[in-house]
């Protein structure tokens, strides 16, 4: 069974500025405050998600909309299990693939093949699984002999193609995608679209954060509008987008 269940979660992200992270302040705080313990109440934190509940089942395609800092990326990280909620709980069942930053994990000084392994590992694939996919990734990237060259010799578009080809080779039950996936020239974009569509269709659940309405409309059936970490509206994708756009326009 594939599913996500989010029960009334709160996520506080502590902010460690110039002062509060240092040992000195903590020792001083302990000395002046009496009891020798770190007091959570004194720390500055930002409430990134504030009281959210959500249930997703197989076939659900959820788009996340909202301003910058509304909590979209944090929610994706909580669903991935990267951030543990400060309160409430998250239950997930199924293989999760977080696709947050396409180029992450790649090394400019390594060649294309090594970068497939590096990026594959950071996506959570095993070395063996990545090796099995290498031929396919090479074909999709259309980089040919460039794969034997270090990544730093690639043009920005070529590097993006490679990153795209690796990231979309992941198969997962739950796909968590942050921001738009788009790379390369027009001909490549067309094939990229087909491949992304396929990846999304193959996944059991999609949660997709984006500022591009067209992509959300294309891939998602439902949408969640977040504002200051609070769920503002959850519903059919066009309704939520319309309400969100109205609010943005009148603001």
């Amino acid at each position: 069974m594939i599913g996500i269940s989010v029960e009334n979660i709160i996520v506080d992200i502590p902010i460690y500025g110039a002062g509060s992270r240092s040992l000195k302040n903590n020792i001083l705080a302990a000395a002046t405050g009496g009891a020798i313990k770190m007091r959570d109440g004194d720390k500055l934190s930002v409430r990134a998600i504030d009281g959210l509940s959500l249930t997703l089942n197989r076939g659900d395609r959820l788009g996340l909309v909202g301003h910058n800092g509304a909590g979209k990326s944090t929610l994706l990280r909580v669903l991935a299990g990267i951030y543990e909620p400060s309160e409430g709980r998250v239950m997930t069942s199924g293989r999760i693939a977080p696709i947050f930053d396409l180029g992450f994990g790649m090394d400019p000084y390594s060649n294309g093949w090594d970068n497939m392994l590096l990026r594959g590992i950071s996506l959570g694939l095993s070395l063996q699984q990545t090796r099995e996919k290498m031929e396919e990734i090479a074909a999709i990237s259309e980089l040919g002999e460039f794969l034997d060259m270090p990544l730093r010799t690639y043009s920005a578009g070529m590097a993006a193609r490679l990153a795209f080809a690796i990231s979309t080779s992941v198969t997962a039950d739950i796909l968590l995608v942050d921001e738009a996936i788009g790379a390369g020239d027009a001909a490549f974009l067309e094939r990229a679209k087909q491949r992304t569509d396929k990846m999304i269709q193959d996944s059991g659940i999609l949660v997709f954060a984006s500022h591009m309405d067209s992509l959300i409309q294309q891939w998602c059936t439902r949408a969640l509008w977040l504002e200051h970490g609070k769920p503002r509206m959850l519903g059919e994708v066009n309704e939520v987008l319309a309400a969100y756009r109205n609010a943005v326009a009148s603001a």
Partner: protein
């Protein structure tokens, strides 16, 4: 398929089960961290002719210089002093590298930690394995010294294997403790690096206990000394004392148990700290 729960539950049962899951999942990905560790070592010396052997050459130059000079100062014969110094440097180097690097471990991997689903212990395994690779490279100096100044060849050398295992287990555990603390308190890395410098001088690496008979007790309270001995003595064809074995074994158990509890307790905070 079972549900995986991430909750704010704060019971020791939750901590220890998730901590155990993290360590187990990390170990399962051994192929990946072995590959990455090797890749990092290679990468550091990319486009240089000697490659990773630069680490070894640096150490060899230092050992040769100090060996020649200090054997004179301490009035030691170079054919016993140089092997002693070599093994001491290589073994202590492993311990001090692990301790120093574990202080920057999670901070250096901050972006990766916020991006990927890899268990946090993955980065600890990778660090330890990278240091094992460097240790193995450095052993070539040991072999070279052996060829120049024959060390008595006997079966004692096999004792270095259990000795090294105890040292690696402890190194892993220490990294599990220092890593989270240093991620939270950014004053820790410089404190640790100056402490390790002090330990380098107060641990018998380029001097021996016989140089300081009145300070023997001081040497014996130094945990690094016992780990050093259980690897160094076998590699020199000698047997470590039973005190060395007992203290190193007890310390390994204590540090491992502490590390497991500590890492489990603070594991979920690390993502917020980096």
């Amino acid at each position: 398929m079972a549900f995986i729960e991430h909750s704010s539950s704060k019971t020791w049962h939750t901590f220890l089960t998730t901590g155990w899951r993290d360590l187990r999942d990390g170990l399962r990905r051994h192929q990946a961290w072995m590959f990455l560790a090797g890749h990092e070592v290679r990468r550091q010396y990319q486009r240089s002719i000697l490659g990773p052997f630069w680490i070894t050459l640096n150490l060899a130059i230092m050992i040769a210089a100090i060996g020649w000079f200090y054997s004179e100062i301490f009035g030691q014969k170079i054919d016993t002093y140089l092997p002693f110094l070599t093994v001491g440097f290589i073994v202590f180097g492993f311990m001090s590298n692990v301790v120093n690097e574990s202080a920057n471990l999670f901070a250096n991997e901050a972006i990766a930690i916020r991006q990927s689903l890899l268990p946090l212990s993955f980065y600890v395994y990778k660090l330890i394995f990278r240091q094992i690779i460097i240790f193995a490279h450095n052993l070539t100096i040991y072999i070279l010294v052996w060829l120049l100044f024959p060390i008595p060849a006997n079966l004692n050398i096999l004792l270095a294997i259990p000795g090294f295992c105890l040292m690696v287990i402890s190194a892993f555990s220490v990294a599990l403790i220092i890593g989270p603390i240093a991620a939270r308190f950014r004053d820790i890395p410089p404190i640790i690096s100056s402490l390790m410098q002090v330990f380098f001088f107060v641990t018998p690496i380029f001097w021996t206990i016989s140089n300081v008979p009145k300070r023997a007790a001081f040497v014996n309270i130094n945990p690094f000394f016992h780990y050093l001995e259980i690897v160094r003595q076998p590699l020199l064809g000698q047997t470590p004392s039973s005190l060395n074995w007992i203290i190193a074994s007890v310390l390994t158990v204590v540090v491992s148990v502490t590390a497991f509890a500590f890492f489990s307790r603070y594991r979920s905070k690390i993502t917020y700290w980096v």
